[in-house]
Amino acid sequence: MAEIILTLSGALVLGSLLVLINIFSATHPYHKPLPLVISSLLVMSVGLYISMATGPEGATVLDSMRQSTSLAITGLIASSPVLFAILTLLMVRISFWRNH
């Protein structure tokens, strides 16, 4: 059960990091990033709090973040065969599709 909660908290941190990196690397003059940054930081804080509470005692914030986020990365990568299966089915469809 602890590992599931740790994975969930890692997913929250990972998702928030993805949003934050995207905001900073794809920023442009017409962007209004502040509310998006604040909401992402809030979600990340919740994830970090949960991972600190669930993880081993005495672990630093950085250690908890590393442990939980890498669990989430493993979970995400492990689902890639299913995504590839869906992609293959889509490829079957477009390969033999005819536009009438």
């Binding site: 990972l14 998006l36 992402s40 442990q67 890498s70 995400l76 890639s80 477009i94």
Partner: protein, 179 residues
């Protein structure tokens, strides 16, 4: 304690950063360094350094095992999308090449990667967590979009933008005249 574990994380961040930069902006002025940066980041993450903790080692080995079949798989799908019929014009050579690469990718995955042995719960929980972040992000975007617009005057087009718009319009008008 060695700090080389940072290489793995920086590599992953560079993948996301490069992809974001590569997709940013209109098609004619996207960042040229986006995708090379993502590839460089992938290489940094692939050659995992010392100093990773248990879960990071597991994530790193899962990533490496996935890359062996995912890269040819994506190349195969890209080839298939180029060879697929558009306006009933098919490119059979590209389709054949694409399906061959996709088949090799499936073979490598099933033979060496043990794809469906990982516990499904952690994948589902991860996707659920990412969905939560996505919903919060959408709500934040809706909030930003619902705010009243400022009274600032929008700057006129620059000379290069004017030239681009003129070129596109004249090209399209010429096509219409030809038809």
């Amino acid at each position: 304690m060695t700090e080389w574990w940072l290489q793995w994380w920086i590599g992953l961040f560079m993948v996301v950063c490069g992809f974001s930069m590569g997709r940013m902006g209109p098609a004619f002025s996207r960042s040229k360094i986006g995708y090379p940066l993502a590839l460089f980041g992938l290489a940094l993450a692939f050659f995992s350094p010392e100093g990773l903790v248990d879960n990071e080692i597991m994530a790193s080995s899962t990533l490496n095992r996935t890359l062996y079949w995912a890269i040819p798989g994506l190349v195969g799908c890209y080839t298939l999308s180029k060879g697929a019929p558009i306006y009933n014009v098919t490119k059979p050579a590209l389709l054949l090449a694409g399906w061959s690469i996709v088949a090799i990718s499936w073979y490598v995955m099933l033979k060496y990667s043990e794809p469906f042995t990982h516990e499904i719960t952690s994948s589902l929980v991860t996707i659920f967590g990412l969905l939560i972040v996505f919903v919060v992000h959408i709500m934040a975007v809706r909030f930003v979009e619902s705010r009243p617009l400022s009274d600032e005057t929008v700057e006129p087009l620059s000379e290069s933008e004017k030239t681009y718009v003129t070129t596109v319009l004249s090209r399209n008008l010429k096509n219409m005249e030809d038809q």
